[in-house]
């Protein structure tokens, strides 16, 4: 395959993994977070530094990143998840900014604002695809089990959810940690596919991008979010937008979506495996039918 195309697809896959985390957190549970990018940064830096400095293999570094993200997430989540929704959003923004500042400040390990250079491109397209599909399956399981119902109930009416027996704080914390894992893994993959990482890759505009994708695809639709993730990551690459106009268009999309279609492009619609199989069968049948008539 063309290596340029491969690198775009790798990038899209990685983006989709962190989008999935955002979908669980913001889409299903209604927790608007600007902290996702902080966990991406943790994953990227932990994996990169442990590889470059301490010779830890990529896989082990990725798991170490997940571990660190879980620890940090536990602290941040415990502190912030009791706040009002907009305060939570701001607190997570503060968290991401702190992470960025720490990366700049402790330049001995992180290379400061220059970042870490010369990271080998270990990540391959099949690897990204496998991890993405695994993440997708986890998300689907989440959505169709009691976890998804708990989250939707909390998003809709937290008090009623509590009264119906949900430990809402615990559920929110678990989702927060779970999505932190998605972010961390995405960050690790990103570091080992782009040769270098720097603090500015983990800006709040990155968080906004993830939020836009989830709202655009639909806060209730896994299918919609995956579609929106692909479209909004691939389109600018294909059309070669300038960086500024790209953000102008992104933010315009979210405003229009919020106003005219608050449930997102796909609403509540989901594509299921049986539907796909149904289509394939249907097509085969009609092909056979036509063949029969011809004979």
């Amino acid at each position: 395959m063309n290596s340029y195309l491969a690198s775009i697809l790798i990038f899209t896959g990685i983006n989709l993994i962190s989008v999935l985390g955002m979908f669980l957190l913001m889409g299903l549970t209604g927790l608007l977070s600007f902290g996702q990018v902080g966990f991406m940064a943790i994953g990227a830096y932990v994996t990169a530094i442990s590889y470059m400095r301490f010779g830890l293999p990529f896989g082990a570094g990725l798991l170490l990143g997940v571990g660190v993200s879980l620890l940090v997430g536990l602290v941040i989540g415990t502190v912030t998840l009791k706040l009002r929704n907009d305060y939570f959003a701001l607190a997570t923004y503060g968290f991401a900014e702190v992470i960025k500042n720490v990366l700049i400040y402790f330049s001995g390990y992180t290379g400061g604002s220059m970042g870490v250079f010369g990271i080998p491109a270990i990540v391959t397209l099949p690897m990204v695809i496998v991890i993405f599909l695994a993440a997708l399956v986890l998300c689907r399981n989440f959505k169709v089990s009691k976890l998804g119902r708990n989250s939707l109930a909390i998003r809709n009416d937290e008090l009623a959810a509590k009264v119906m027996g949900i430990n809402t704080f615990k559920q929110k914390l678990l989702v927060f940690l779970f999505s932190a894992v998605f972010g961390s893994v995405a960050g690790s993959l990103l570091a080992f596919s782009t040769y270098y990482i720097e603090p500015n890759m983990f800006n709040w505009s990155k968080s906004v991008e993830l939020i836009v994708i989830v709202f655009f695809g639909g806060i209730n639709s896994l299918t919609g979010v995956v579609f929106a993730g692909m479209a909004l990551t691939l389109l600018p690459e294909i059309l070669h937008f300038g960086a500024e106009w790209r953000m102008v268009i992104y933010t315009a999309i979210i405003i229009v979506t919020m106003i005219y279609r608050p449930t997102g492009l796909f609403g509540r619609w989901e594509l299921s495996l049986s539907q796909i199989l149904g289509w394939i069968k249907g097509r085969r049948k009609s092909a056979v039918g036509r063949g029969g008539q011809g004979a």
């Binding site: 089990s145 009691k146 976890l147 708990n150 009264v163 119906m164 027996g165 809402t168």
Partner: protein, 257 residues
């Protein structure tokens, strides 16, 4: 000698204030197991606040609440639900993002045992329990007469059906004590008669203790075995319906004389 029924719920001298408003003022309630009882009183008397206190939405500023001899005041709403108390809301609070079926199914969540990890991994136990819950949900939907509406969104249901859905959702937590906050509000006479039948069936067949708040006097007098009358945050009378109807304090509260 007749066997004394066990006390299920006990409120001892419970007081609740909001700023300067004393919404509930030194209330004592002793509800025996197996009763179908009611709380009546004018608007603003503090009835809903009593429910909010029992279900843990608020913690009382004074007094305590016991359920099966265990103090529950101070516990969180979800803990209290796990102990066996469920309620409906006066201003219907269904989950708009979930369809009718899932609104009821989410209430069975508090009894499913699989963990977060099992859930996301989709292990066999998850599917077994999901299937069991689904069967239960169908039973509750049938009980309240909502079969056939499984895939409807709650906001698209007629008002009377929304009230029934609230009832089914509360039942799905399998409570020992069911609190119904004005279940007949906004219903027409036919629907009220239907609702009364459903409540009686729940009481008998599911063996639940029921405490309900109502304004429809004929309904209350008809189905309740015991009543508490509240006014200005206080319980002003307690007894069986015949007794209550003759109580002068009650007449005064209602007629305002």
């Amino acid at each position: 000698m007749k066997e004394q029924p066990k006390t299920l719920l006990q409120m001892n001298n419970v007081t609740m204030r909001f700023g300067g408003v004393v919404a509930v003022n030194g209330v004592n309630i002793n509800l025996s197991e197996g009763r179908l009882a009611g709380i009546i009183g004018p608007n603003g008397a503090g009835k809903t606040t009593v429910f909010n206190l029992i279900s843990g939405v608020y913690d009382p500023v004074e007094g305590d609440i016991r359920f099966r001899d265990q103090v529950i005041s101070g516990k969180s709403p979800s803990e209290i639900t796990h102990l066996g108390i469920a309620r409906t809301f006066q201003n219907i609070r269904l989950f708009k993002g979930l369809n009718v079926f899932d609104n009821v199914k989410m209430a069975t969540n508090c009894r499913t045992e699989y963990s977060f990890m099992e859930g996301v991994l989709g292990l066999p136990r998850v599917w077994r329990q999901e299937k069991e819950s689904a069967a239960e949900v169908e039973r509750y939907l049938e009980l309240v007469g909502l079969l056939g509406y499984e895939n409807t969104w709650p906001e698209n249901l007629a008002y009377g059906l929304q009230r029934k859905l609230e009832l089914a959702r509360a039942l799905a937590t399998k409570p020992a004590l069911l609190l119904l906050d004005e279940p007949a509000a906004g219903l027409n006479p036919t629907e009220i008669r239907e609702l009364m039948d459903i409540i009686r069936r729940i009481h008998k067949e599911l063996d639940m203790t029921i405490l309900l708040i109502e304004h429809h006097m004929d309904m209350v007098m008809d189905i309740c075995e015991e009543l508490w009358v509240m006014n200005f945050g206080k319980v002003i009378a307690n007894g069986d319906p015949e007794h209550i109807q003759r109580e002068p304090e009650v007449l005064r509260a209602y007629l305002g004389s």
